[in-house]
Symmetry: C2
DNA sequence: TTCTTACATTGTAATTGTTATAATTAATTT
DNA sequence: AAATTAATTATAACAATTACAATGTAAGAA
């Protein structure tokens, strides 16, 4: 089944109304294959929805996050980015141009276990990102 | 040698003037043994420096970051936290009360290597945090 | 010392991403 | 259809941070 249809089913199951705006935001998240900001989405859809409020984008991204359809990525400096949730993965980020690349890695269970053991925390999850220069930016560096 | 003295030497070596405000901010960062926000520092020092501007705190934290004395920690939602740099470590964070605990773990070199291999990035560093409930909050949960 | 210049601090305004609020519109239930 | 509930819109508010201009301070040259 295609991911959009599946996402819409999730909304239906959790009693969240499927509005044209929500449909469009989901569709954009899935098709863009990137990690857009709320503003990216807002701008991308202003052709189709000239009257949509930026608050609607934020509201709906929060709704999607709450039902587990999207993951919010927060990289310190700038604004949040949103990732349509497929399988669990990490991100490799270019510090020069900001490019974000998905990166699969088998879960770091051992780290979570050790952290729990050492600190006494009930560990739920973790985040990890890898930073560096993408091939394009790295090649520009050496000139 | 004590860390404050060492930090002041670093400033001297890099040609950064040691002002009373800078001295006090560094001292607070080292002695508090925590991960304060800029505002925490500002409030903690307003007794000693009633006229210090919040801009001064931000300016100097940036200076300290640039010369490698402090690390800025950005956890999405709230404001940045600042960590006086000692040895490399990770953080375990309570999602209930916000407590932050240092956590030592041998470097995840393997992850960096694989990421570099798979994406072609020139990998520089990574970040990782572990999330869960601290012992106090976890015990409150089960009631 | 006095003059000069560079750096630092202060107070405040501006900026940015995000959220809150109230009014309006749309969808669902009765 | 009427009533109820949820969603959207427009705009104001907010909080963290930065920019800016004016003032203050310290080191170096004369
Ligand atoms: Mn991703
Ligand atoms: Mn720490
Ligand atoms: Zn790049
Ligand atoms: Zn806690």
């Amino acid at each position: 089944m295609n991911p959009l249809k599946e996402a819409l089913d999730t909304l239906k199951d959790t009693g969240v109304r499927i509005t044209p705006q929500r449909h469009a935001i989901l569709e954009y998240l899935i098709n863009s294959m990137s990690h857009p900001t709320a503003d990216d989405i807002y701008k991308a859809l202003e052709g189709k929805f000239p009257n949509m409020s930026v608050a609607t984008v934020y509201n709906n991204l929060r709704v999607f996050r709450e039902v587990g359809l999207v993951k919010e990525l927060t990289f310190g400096d700038a604004s949040s980015r949103f990732d349509f949730v497929t399988s669990h993965h990490y991100h490799v980020i270019c510090e020069k141009c900001g490019k974000i690349v998905d990166f699969l890695y088998p879960g770091l269970d051992e780290v979570e276990h050790l952290a729990s053991h050492v600190t006494g925390f009930k560990v739920e999850n973790h985040r990890m990102e890898i930073y560096g220069s993408c091939p394009e930016c790295a090649s520009k560096e050496v000139h």
